[in-house]
Amino acid sequence: MENKTIVHSNPADYQARSLDTMCINESELKHPWWYNFKYLAVGLVFGVVFVKAEIISWFRIQEMFRLQSFHMYGVIGTAVVVGAISVFLIKKWKVKTIHGEEITFADKKFNKGQIYGGLMFGFGWAITGACPGPLFAQLGTGVLSISVVILSAIAGTWTYGYLREKLPH
């Protein structure tokens, strides 16, 4: 009960967060900060796969958008199939987290942003040859100039936040 009060103590905060389903997977458990290192470990595996399967290669993305290679379609397609089976099983067996919490899913609401924003991201994806995850992996491999691309992406997100009320949704 005490936790709930804290979560909803700022209505504006809660409202802003619930507009973005990506952002409201709230945990009621309070863990020490270093528990977050388990997510670092998962990210590390992800980063290695990004590099070793050449997913962060600008050239692979260009081939994908020119239908010159099956590679990226295979990667994303396999990931969706494995992910979907996992989500299905978690729901079916009502699997809990390793800390005994319930696993919850939020439905995504449709808005026009998925079309306009989706097209804009598609443009950016084809130019930079990277989505947000690969940008960080590219930087990790030592291409330091990618930090400029990441900073620009942060500026893009900030500008979206600034213009949000004026944009069609």
């Binding site: 504006a12 905060d13 802003a16 973005d20 952002c23 528990y35 977050n36 997510y39 670092l40 990210g43 590390l44 595996v45 992800f46 980063g47 290695v48 990004f50 590099v51 070793k52 962060i56 600008w58 050239f59 260009q62 958008f65 020119r66 295979g74 994303i76 396999t78 969706v80 494995v82 979907a84 996992s86 989500v87 987290t97 899913f105 808005n111 942003g113 079309i115 924003g117 989706g118 097209l119 804009m120 991201f121 598609g122 443009f123 950016g124 994806w125 040859g129 989505c131 992996a137 590219q138 930087l139 030592g142 291409v143 100039s145 691309v149 620009s152 992406a153 942060i154 900030w158 936040g161």
Partner: protein
Amino acid sequence: MIETISQPWPWYVAGAIIGLIVPALLLLGNKHFGISSNLRHICAACFPSNIPFFKYDWKKESWNLFFVGGILLGGFLSAQYLGSNEPIQIHPDLAQELAAYGITDFSGLVPVQLFSFDALFSAKGLIMMIGGGFLVGFGTRYAGGCTSGHAIMGLSNLQWPSLVATICFMVGGFIMANFILPYILSL
């Protein structure tokens, strides 16, 4: 063993591991796979500027920043210790097309002739690094997710808005790569 790991990994191995990240994050703490939100958390942490969209307790999402920190570290470790010395294989049509724009260095994962600090001082480099990055940051947040949040997590959870977003990502990419990028590359 180490030799096998050093080779480029096939798509089905990479796809399966990425797919397993979805249940891994759910089981470790009911976290939903997504990366572009980090850009928002960074804004909220560093430059909230009284914008409602950035006024939330970003510390509650700090797991996401650890996750992306892991990606960075994974990139570093694989480049340092798991690299293969063979050059990346590129489709001959793509190599030919890029050569026409003077891009002939295929040695890295990222073409050094397009992405470098020096390239920032050319119109081409400026558009691609600053413009491209901006579109990624603006577009993903406007769409409410990127390839991981929509195409993988959203589709895994059978969300039709994520399918719309994924189709738009691909349509945007096809238009850019085939019809607009050639003009940018010839600058």
